[in-house]
Symmetry: C2
């Protein structure tokens, strides 16, 4: 099945609330995650909520990364959507889980831009995993795959 892109939907739980509160750290880690996934960063925009919580997005040549944090819940909702054969979003997921000190991870991968017979596009959930990182499971267990068309920036 050929897809234009892959969308990683990631819930990070039991994270460090101190990290999730820090605009500087959250921004730094998301931008670094993009780089480690071999993506090309184009735009970076973040917002800090009152009294806490951060939303941010990094637009990359290969699509985007986003994060929304709930420090009071030790929780972050992350999306990593990439096109192209050169990116490794799995690397970004592993890096973010480590930097946010997540103990539990829910990851679902959706293949986006899957062409139907009539020329329209669909998407397909390719796999979904809930992992307890503190009991020895790790994100490297999630099957790896690469995909399709990179646009030039």
């Amino acid at each position: 099945m050929k897809a234009l892109g892959r969308h990683f939907i990631l819930e990070l739980s039991h994270c460090s609330s101190e990290v999730l509160c820090s605009l500087t750290k959250v921004r730094e880690y998301i931008v670094e995650a993009a780089k480690r996934a071999n993506a090309h960063v184009l735009k970076v925009t973040f917002h800090k909520f009152s009294p806490h919580g951060i939303s941010g997005v990094v637009v990359i040549a290969e699509s985007h990364l986003s994060i929304h944090t709930w420090p009071e819940e030790g929780y972050a909702a992350v999306d990593i959507y990439t096109c192209g054969d050169t990116t490794t979003p799995e690397t970004a997921c592993e890096y973010l889980a480590q930097m946010f000190e997540a103990k539990n991870v829910k990851l679902t991968v959706v293949n986006r831009g899957v062409k139907n017979g009539n020329g329209s596009f669909s998407h397909v959930v390719s796999n979904s995993s809930q992992l307890c990182l503190d009991s020895g499971q790790n994100l490297a267990e999630v099957p790896r795959r690469r995909h399709a068309v990179l646009r030039s920036a």
Copy 2:
């Protein structure tokens, strides 16, 4: 099932390539879609690729909207992720399908931030539809629901 947010994953097919090429129009429509969904716009960032294609994100108080366009395919990949009881992302989906002149729509709704018994968070696909808008189907057929916690900007 209580969820912190809902994530609408939307593929718009057989759209107007002229609209998908226009940075001005794509930006205007995404920002307007956010407003029509009763979301509060905080940040707007867009990038135009060469020779064509646009990526853009609107950070809202309730999370974000994103779009990536492939004018050569008449295709746009959209995400609308909202928290709070006051937003109507369905309205944004309907508006975007109309403005991009989409003839076919694939929509999947994922409930994000669903709390497990052990305090970790998960996500659950709540429904998925592929609709041919030019054969009389429409996005109003997709079941509507509202959710959870709004953070103050």
